[in-house]
Symmetry: C2
Subunit: 146 residues, 2 copies
Amino acid sequence: MDFLEIAVEQARLGLSEGGVPVGAALVADGQVLGAGRNRRVQEGSVIRHGETDALERAGRRPARVYRRATMYTTLSPCAMCTGAILLYEIPRVVIGENRTFMGREDLLLAHGVEVVVADSAECRSLMAAFIERWPEVWNEDIGQPS
Amino acid sequence: MDFLEIAVEQARLGLSEGGVPVGAALVADGQVLGAGRNRRVQEGSVIRHGETDALERAGRRPARVYRRATMYTTLSPCAMCTGAILLYEIPRVVIGENRTFMGREDLLLAHGVEVVVADSAECRSLMAAFIERWPEVWNEDIGQPS
């Protein structure tokens, strides 16, 4: 099963809602524990990025579950989402693309996290569609001035 | 005004709810933009730590506001909360204590964030009371096995 596709489906849903099209899925033992997407526009959230929303939807889990999980995300994880991955010691991250935005893969790698980048054209295209229309929301989402 | 007291009040509230007693307040231009507390027990949240809850309650803000803000928190920020502070480029963090748990102050400092540690006896005492009673919840909150 291509779990990245679960994350991409979340990103597509996000775009259809007018939201930042980043989706994610937390997977362990071949099961999707939680899938989520950026909720800045939809819920006015400043902490629900794809990855953190997926973690939240996965609910409370023992440390041992996170430590055998993979986080699938359509976009390179920002500092906050990187920190969440490090907090829970998730050992592997599969990233749709990092050309639109290079997050803190350096920190993931420095902490021994396995990082796989798919360089997905669809992930890039979802982001391009959003940024063309709402550049100021995208900047806000990554803490940058417009 | 002692804004750390706003964070401590949130931590006290958290303990009274049976929750992890970490509170935080995001302050800019002498105004509290948002105050929050850890919600793991109260809402089953794995992403609402004191600092992220304060950010969420402060709502969507332009980058320039975060960049002149201070995050007050009763406990040294974990990797996730450190990442959130770095994402939004919050330049100053005031910490109640870091003896119970040393978060990623190293990362904050490495990114030029000003870090002030108050070494508050009350902050330590709130954590001690919680950890004595619910050590497994505290371990879960920092991604550690019990």
